[in-house]
Every structure is written in C-alpha cells, then in structure tokens.
C-alpha cells in the first residue's frame, strides 16, 4: 500500500519539478528575447 502511495506522490513530485524547471527556462528565455528586441544591436 505504501508502495502505491509512494508511486503516486513520486509521479506528482517529478511533474512539479519538471514544470518548475520549465517555468524557470521560459522566464530566462523571455528576458533574453525581450532584451534582444529592446536592444537589437547588442
């Protein structure tokens, strides 16, 4: 039973980690592209 519960929470935990990493990556990319548009010559 604990194995089942552990598996459920592990899958959820992995997804939350992945979604957090994706958010961080997107924010970085958005900042980079914004800077690229605001200062096209840099």
């Amino acid at each position: 039973m604990l194995l089942g519960l552990g598996a459920a929470w592990l899958i959820m935990f992995i997804y939350v980690v992945l979604i957090t990493l994706r958010e961080r990556k997107l924010r970085k990319e958005l900042d980079r592209v914004r800077r690229m548009v605001e200062h096209p010559n840099k």
Partner: protein, 227 residues
C-alpha cells in the same frame, strides 16, 4: 490575483488531503478480503477520474479552438491534457501495484487496462506532436484532432468495465450503480477527488501561464526577425 487563487487552492487542498488521509489510514477498517492494500483505491480511482474527465475537458477546449480559432482554447486544452496525463500515469502505476498484490501479476491485457494504456499513449503522442509542430495554428489543429480521438478512446475505456467482462473489477462506486463498498468507505474517495482536483487546477493555472510566456516569446522572436 492568480497567485492568491493558487495559494488559496493549495492551502484548501492540502488541509483537505491531510484530513482525508487521516480518515483513510487511521479510521477506516481493512477490507475483508484484501486487507490494507485496498486503500490504494483512494488514490487510484480519484487519479483515474481526474485523468478521464481531464481528457474530456481537453477535448471540449479543442473543439472550442476548432470552432473559434482562438489559441487560448488550444493553450487550455494543452494544459488540461498534460496535467490529466500525469493523473492517468498515477492511475496506471497505482493500479499495477494493486494488481501485483491481489492478482499476482503487474499487468493483464484485458479491455479496461489495454484501452486505458492506449489512451495514455495517444495523449503522450499528443504532447509529442505539440513539440514537433512549430506553426501555432497548425499545431493547435492537429492536436485538437488527436485530443478528440483520444477522448473517444477514454470514453470506451470508462465504459469497458460495463460493456465487457474484464479482469479489472466491475464498477464499485454508487454513482455507477456499483454498490460494492460499505457505508462510509466511499466518501473519502470523493474527498480525494476534490482535493486532487484543486491540485489539478493549480497545475493547469501554472501551465496556462507558461503557455502565455511561450506565446509572448514567439511573438517577440517574430518581431526581432522583422527588425
């Protein structure tokens, strides 16, 4: 505003889940034939309910996109489908662990398990397809078609335990005329559905924000190329 809603939902869902876990693990007796392992049902069933209903909701948003061509519907469909796939994965994993202990095997190729696995693969393919197509409208159109096909399969999977004889147990919940649970043992399933639905809503909101970031990045890139 979105952050406040997310925090409020997280607090509510966390408290509800903690209270319900206490009920499940300390107040409910073991099942007569299965012993303690039957408690997996309190996570397996809610996860599959959220998976199936999420795929159906994703299909409605996909149809919304096909009708209106509004990419916000596509973003909603993608977000709901991705989160639903996580719950479907939990449903498959917990079901398999239960099967190993009760049936003695990890998997049985019966109608229910096979159709649900096919459904999981279709929606896994849906997410891969979204990464493979760059043009947003084309991506949304292709994804909508896959979502509709996958949801039809999800409905077949839902009904399979009524239509065919399966290794998987027949319906036990009272709303499906199952009546297979003693009084007081069914309510925690629905409380868990509510708590996990709140978590699901949080994840969908976060994914929606990411979709909006991705759209903004795409627009800015086009502007940069046009300069």
């Amino acid at each position: 505003m979105r952050e406040k809603i997310i925090i409020g939902l997280a607090v509510f869902a966390g408290a509800l889940l903690a209270w319900n876990m206490n009920t499940i693990f300390t107040k409910l007796p073991d099942e007569l034939n299965q012993g303690a392992i039957y408690r997996i049902i309190y996570f397996h069933v809610p996860a599959n309910i959220l998976g199936m209903s999420g795929f159906g909701l994703g299909m409605l948003f996909s149809i919304g996109y096909l009708v209106t061509k509004d990419l916000r519907y596509d973003a909603l469909a993608a977000s709901v489908t991705e989160v639903s796939l996580v719950f479907a994965s939990i449903g498959l994993a917990t079901g398999s662990i239960w099967a190993r202990i009760i049936w003695g095997v990890w998997w049985a190729w019966d109608y229910r398990l096979t159709s649900w696995l096919v459904c999981w693969l279709i929606f896994g393919g849906y997410l891969m397809l979204r990464r493979a197509v760059d043009e947003p409208n084309q991506r949304a159109r292709f994804a909508a078609v896959v979502s509709i096909l996958g949801s039809v399969n999800a409905y077949i999977s839902y009904k399979s335990i009524e239509w065919w004889t399966t290794q998987h147990p027949q319906p036990v919940l009272s709303i499906r005329n199952g009546g297979g649970m003693a009084a007081g043992m069914e309510a925690p399933i629905w409380w868990n559905v509510l708590a996990l639905a709140c978590f699901s809503a949080i994840l969908v909101m976060v994914r929606m924000r990411q979709e909006s970031f991705a759209r903004e990045i795409d627009t800015l890139r086009r502007m940069a190329h046009a300069q």
